[in-house]
Amino acid sequence: MSTAEDIRTPPVGQHQIGHHEAKPGEHGWTQTGVSNEKLGMWVFLGSECLLFGGLISTYLLYKRTAVKGPVPHQLYDIPFTSVSSFVLLMSSMTMVLALAALQRGEEQRCRVWLVTTAMLGATFISGQVYEFTSFVKKGMGYTTNTAASAFYTLTGFHGVHVSIGIIMLMSLFVMSLRGRLPQERSEVVEIVGLYWHFVDIVWILIFTVVYLIP
C-alpha cells in the first residue's frame, strides 16, 4: 500500500532536472512524475491523430466520387514524391541528432542540426509547392472536383504543420544563438522534436495511403 510520500515522489528516472531529481515544492516537480510540458505535447499529438484521421478518411471517401476533371492519382509523380518523403524522413534523423547534441552540451553542433532540419523541411515544402503548381497547370484546381478538394486540404494541412515546425526550429536556433538554450533546457528541443517527428509520421501515412495505394 502506498503512502502519501510515495504518491508525491516522482517515479524513478522519469523527471529530472540535470542530475537532480525534483522534489515536492521544488521547481520542476509534478504530481505525475513527468514533465507537464512534455505531457501536454503528447496530449496535443494524440488529439492531432483525430484531425489527420478525419482528413485522410475524407480523402478516401471522396477520391472515387469525382465526376469531372483529372483526379489526384492520375497526376501523381511517384519518383518525385518519394524523394520528398525521403527528405522528410532524414529531417527526423537530424532533429534527433540536434537533441542528442544538446543533451551532451554541444550547443554549436545542436545549432547545425537544427538549421539542417529546417532546411530539409523547407525543401519538402518547396517540393509540395512545385507539386501543387504542376497539378493546377494540369487542370486540377482546388474546386475542380471533390477528390481534388480533399487532396489539397489533407496535404495542405500537413504542409502548414511542416511550416509551423520550421518556424519553431528557427526560433530554437535564434534562442540558441542568444545563449538561451543551454544543456539544462534540452527538453524544449525535445518537445519541438516530438512535434516534428509527428509531422513525419503523418507523412508516412499519407505517402502510403494516398500516393502508393491506388
Binding site: E21, P79, S85, L97, I204, T208, I213
Partner: protein, 109 residues
C-alpha cells in the same frame, strides 16, 4: 568513476544509457530509407491489389512504429506518454473505421 550510491544517481545513469547514440540514430534512419525504397519499388511491381495493399500497410506500420519508438523515444520514456498517444491513435482509428464502414468504403461501391 565510482559506482552510483543513491537510487536517483542509479536512475540517472540508467536513463542516460537507455537513449541511443548518434550511430544508432543513423542506423534507424538508414533502415527507414531502405523500407521507403522497398515501398516505392513495390509500386512498380505488377501484383494483385490485396497483397500489395497488405504489404504496403505492414511496411507503413513498421516505419511509423520505428519513428515513434526510437526518434520520439516512446520506447524509453514514461509509459504515461505511450498511453496518451495510443489513446489518440486507437480512438482515431476506431472512429474513422466506423465512418468508412458506414459509407461502404470497403465494399467498393
Amino acid at each position: 568513476m565510482s559506482a552510483p550510491t543513491t537510487t536517483t544517481e542509479a536512475a540517472h545513469v540508467e536513463h542516460e544509457h537507455a537513449h541511443p547514440g548518434d550511430g544508432e540514430y543513423m542506423l534507424v534512419a538508414l533502415f527507414l530509407a531502405v523500407v521507403t525504397g522497398a515501398e516505392v519499388g513495390l509500386y512498380y511491381v505488377n501484383m494483385a491489389f490485396l497483397p500489395y495493399a497488405i504489404i504496403l500497410t505492414v511496411l507503413m506500420i513498421v516505419k511509423f512504429s520505428t519513428v515513434v519508438m526510437f526518434f520520439m523515444h516512446l520506447r524509453f520514456d514514461s509509459r504515461l506518454f505511450r498511453y496518451v498517444f495510443l489513446t489518440g491513435i486507437v480512438l482515431a482509428t476506431a472512429v474513422y473505421m466506423v465512418v468508412l464502414l458506414t459509407f461502404h468504403f470497403f465494399s467498393g461501391h
